[in-house]
Amino acid sequence: MARSVSAPRLTLKTREMLEAWLFVSPTFIGFLIFFLGPLVAIFYYSTTEWNLLSQQATFVGLHNFQNALLENPDFWHVVRNSVIFALGLVPLNMALALSLALALSRPFFGVVFFRTIFFAPVITSAIAWAIVWKFMLQGEGGAVNQMLAWVGIDGPNWLREPNWAMAAVIVTRVIKMVGLNMILYIAALQSIPRDYEEAAKLEGASRLQIFRMITWPLLAPTTLVIMVLTTIGSFKVFDHIYQMTGGGPENGTLVLAFYIYQQGFKFFNVGYAAALALIMFAIVMALTLVQVMLRRREME
């Protein structure tokens, strides 16, 4: 006997769509409040002169941008520092990460131990890491200088001399973060079929030729991701500088993210800080686009 079935009020497609939105909504609402909201707000703040203490925002148009880009010499000094930091950190980090990955991508006794050792700093608290290195890099009595003394080298006061301070924060930051890129490279290396290497070996390619002609080109997508992420990360560096040098000596390590923090939360120039944050966003975006375009051209 045929049963009469009453048609549901909503179509199947509508019901499925509602269910989907139900599942997505917690994340979506969080995204709106904590990500999109502040992003929109920062555009507004950047056009105001807003002193956090007076709680009064005055609309000033593009004055904050004009101030940063054309009037305030500190800004360009800070950008220069950030660029030096990135130029030092990104190639060093990537070269080290790739070398470690090449050494640790194949199984051998103890490989997990070494991977853990190199990855451990990534999950260590950045502040704790910086404090430990600050002690180790002390001019007198620091572990690094003591070790140098054993081999007859009189080490500098690393974090107090402008030239050395930047090098010291770069190297310690690289050691902290290299494990992450190493893992990305290991994953990429392991996804390259062994057959390619074997086919090349049969054709007489040396290990260096295999790396140069097969492995390195096949790593290109990963290299691009690592390069973009590391560059962005290097422009955003804050905690490391905050703890190790506080931007000193003589503003020698005062980088953009730390400068924004200073302007916003030390001098309470929220409007100016917001404008600086947008400029940093533009710089990072431009650098990323350049990297992506260069890579694409290289691959074509």
């Binding site: 390619y196 074997e198 086919a199 090349a200 070996k201 049969l202 080109p217 096949l218 691959m299």
Partner: protein, 341 residues
Amino acid sequence: MTKVLLKDIRKRFGTVEVIRGVDLQIEDGEFVVFVGPSGCGKSTLLRLISGLEHISDGELHIGDRLVNEVPAAKRGVAMVFQSYALYPHLTVRDNMGFGLKIRKVPAKERARRVSEAAATLKLEPLLDRFPRQLSGGQRQRVAIGRAIVGNPEVFLFDEPLSNLDAELRVHMRSEIAALHQRLSTTMIYVTHDQIEAMTLADKIVVLREGKIEQVGSPHELYNEPGTIFVAQFIGSPKMNILPLFGGQPITHNSSVPATAASVGVRPEHLSLVAPSNTALRGKVRLAEYTGAVTLIHVELDGGQTCLAIHNQGIAPEIGAEVGLKTAPEHLHFFDNEGRTV
């Protein structure tokens, strides 16, 4: 002249011996197929010949050279991999010319040899494409082309057709056979597909658990299998093996060797007859119609299942009582150890 000679070849991975003393002579220009079930060591043996794995013991000669300690690139072999191993970032032209570039062959000569190989394999229109833009069969041809340009003395194929669909496999099989005829180079081919082995080989090497079970021409292996293993591995559907204890009605009119413990007969050599015409009877349990023939599964009165190929008229119904008959010359007798007697 490029003979390949294997003398008591052994390969150990740690304490596990996967190749356990292989002796084999491959003649110049011969097409030899290594066949066997998964894990029998056929690919390992091929990799030992190629130089991608080190030989633990024994001697390997290619031509008149002992090559145990000769690096892979200098053995004069080229290999076609199961995955094709085409470099995804290089065009077909660059893939094919890769080895020549490594060997610093001048660009002009390189281009000539790539064009020649491309012409042989009808790859000319594809030379500027990337592997991702090719079909499975085209990739396979490029992989073969890459092997050809190096002018190797020995070609090694490691299950080259296993990633292709059935139709393309048949087509590529004939292309490989034609290529062998044209080049007349020694070819060693690994497969687990006995049809491929039968159709391509001058000589088949059946491997089992790291040892050679039998070597012979396809005809020899099919008609004179040395063991039950070979008898059942070569030929499709596989040979029926029936125990002889208590007397086996199939051997009714044959002289049975004294040491025989079992008897084998191929499904294509069994014909269906009326139950009253034979002592070997049973019930039809399954009939698999393949178009040209029907494969009949008959449960014998003794409980064993016997396969028979039926290619005349309508197949009997499931459950029908049938008789099975064969000529005495089609019977194979095996002893307790599974060896032919």
